[in-house]
């Protein structure tokens, strides 16, 4: 029997969620210990005896037995729900009570409940995303720090603060209450979107780490779609945009391992199955009257994914979608992308005009692709000197070796063009 990819990571999220429902959010650390313990056990047994028929069930059953041990050990030292406290005091009721709490019907929504709990309104968005990665995706503090290109200390602080907020609520979020569910759903969608973006556009130099983040976001979004209240047009649009973007991941590196821009990518390497899946989700999102930023972004991704080349792309359509996005969720990055699309459609001079007209473009001062876009349009206008300066500015704020290498190549291209001119 083979080990399925990221099995422990995925089971960690499910198991911590179930144990936290049972122990209470103030006992999250105990839940995490029990999971770690179950993993150690699995590791000891499986490495010698092989992977069992149903690894997920094996792990959950082990977690259940470890939970019973934990109750025996901790029933006087810790506080649990009053009703639960009473039932775990006696050996007669302890095991049947825990059995019932682990019944398949009882654990069904746990992952989702934890997902909603992580998106607590008192937590800043970046803390929500870090918490999801840590709890639901089983990323260690170091792995989260690696994904966010941050320090261990900074991420540890962020996560432990977030866990304190989580602890104060005592109970996991109740996903059966319609109004509360709908009220928190946008925050959950947003956190999933940010998680995906961190993978897609983030600064981590390791493409494997980034692809992992994208896949985790897609996995959690799929879990959200399984819940009747989570299955909304906006969630479908979110799933569509993730799939349509993920389709392009295989082509983001060229054959020699260099970062490749949308304009130069070998489109035959785009994953057609993900495009098809994205299209299916996009169709499913087209109901109701709500038009979200996810719909519009999925629309833009769809135009790219179904165009055979940059030249054949319907840039006019893309510009109109960015216009729409600017009315729903304006940001300097959206404005920059809109300006780039205008430059593609109406020529480099218009592109430059639009970039210079971005209201709060000082907020892009640390964004390498802002300067790279300026450099690109100056290059197309034959202004190789200015272009080279812009690429150098981009290089100064580049976030990883791949970006630096990409920009270095553009600088060389400017030098060559200048020599020929």
């Amino acid at each position: 029997m083979e080990l399925s990819e990221h099995l422990f990571r995925h089971e960690a999220g499910r198991m911590v969620a179930t144990l936290t429902r049972i122990f209470g959010t103030h006992n999250l650390a105990l839940a995490e210990d029990v999971v770690q313990d179950a993993f150690c056990r699995a590791f000891e047994v499986w490495k010698l005896r092989g992977i069992p028929e149903n690894p997920s069930a094996w792990l959950m059953a082990t977690a259940k037995n470890r939970a019973i041990d934990a109750f025996r050990r901790e029933r006087t030292a810790r506080t649990f729900e009053p009703e639960l406290s009473r039932l775990i005091q006696s050996e007669w009721t302890l095991t049947p009570t825990v059995e019932e709490l682990f019944a398949s019907n009882a654990i069904k929504d746990d992952l989702l409940r934890m997902m909603f709990s992580c998106c607590h309104p008192r937590l800043p968005e970046e803390a929500q995303v870090a918490l999801m990665l840590n709890i639901l995706c089983g990323f260690s503090v170091d792995e989260v720090a690696g994904a966010f290109v941050s320090t261990h200390a900074a991420i540890e602080k962020r996560i432990s603060r977030a866990k304190k907020v989580l602890a104060e609520s005592r109970k996991l979020f109740d996903v059966s209450a319609d109004s509360e569910f709908s009220a928190r759903l946008p925050a959950v969608q947003r956190a999933l979107y940010l998680l995906f973006n961190e993978g897609y556009h983030g600064a981590s130099p390791e493409s494997a780490v980034r692809a992992d983040l994208c896949h985790e976001a897609m996995r959690l979004t799929a879990a959200l779609l399984k819940h009747p209240l989570g299955e909304t047009p906006a969630t479908y649009a979110l799933a569509a945009l993730m799939h349509l973007h993920a389709a392009r991941l295989p082509a983001r590196m060229d054959a020699s391992g260099h970062l490749s821009s949308l304009f130069d990518q070998d489109r035959s390497r785009w994953a057609s199955n993900l495009v098809a899946e994205g299209q299916r989700f996009l169709d499913l999102s087209a109901t109701g009257s709500d038009l979200t930023e996810y719909h519009v972004e999925a629309g833009i991704a769809w135009v790219h994914a179904t165009s055979i080349s940059t030249e054949e792309t319907d840039w006019k359509h893309i510009v109109s979608l960015y216009d729409l996005l600017m009315t729903i969720r304006p940001s300097p990055v959206v404005a920059l992308n809109r300006a780039i699309a205008i430059g593609q459609h109406e020529g480099p001079t218009r592109g430059l005009e639009e970039i210079h007209a971005i209201a709060d473009r000082d907020r892009l001062a640390n964004y390498p692709f802002y300067f790279a876009a300026l450099g690109e349009f100056e290059f197309r206008n034959g202004k190789y000197d200015i272009s080279q300066e812009e690429f150098r500015r981009a290089l100064a704020v580049a976030r990883n070796p791949m970006e630096r290498e990409f920009l270095q190549r553009r600088i060389s291209a400017c030098e060559q063009a200048n020599a020929l001119a």
Partner: protein
Amino acid sequence: MSEYVFLYRGGEAGRSPERVQQSMQKWMAWFKELGQKGHIKDQGQPLERAGKLVKGKQKTVTDGPFAEAKDIVGGYTLIEARDLDQAVELSKGCPILEVDGGVEVRPVMKLNM
């Protein structure tokens, strides 16, 4: 061919789920290779870390574990190898060595020496 027991001492599973996954994959690959080369007589069993120790004429019973975590035997495998040197060579591929663990290689005594 002679028989040898590999006793696995110490070594940790890994601090994150992904680390556990990676260690697990290394063990599977190592066993697969040993098996394909015909070295595995019995894949063996894992052992609980705790237990009881019964000792002396008084039959006093003490609770385990009986050693520091790094020295506890967590399991064993029965190996077939040409000689002790080969058995030691084979043990050098064990993933436990990457996580501060050790493999004790012990020849099984033969009946007809």
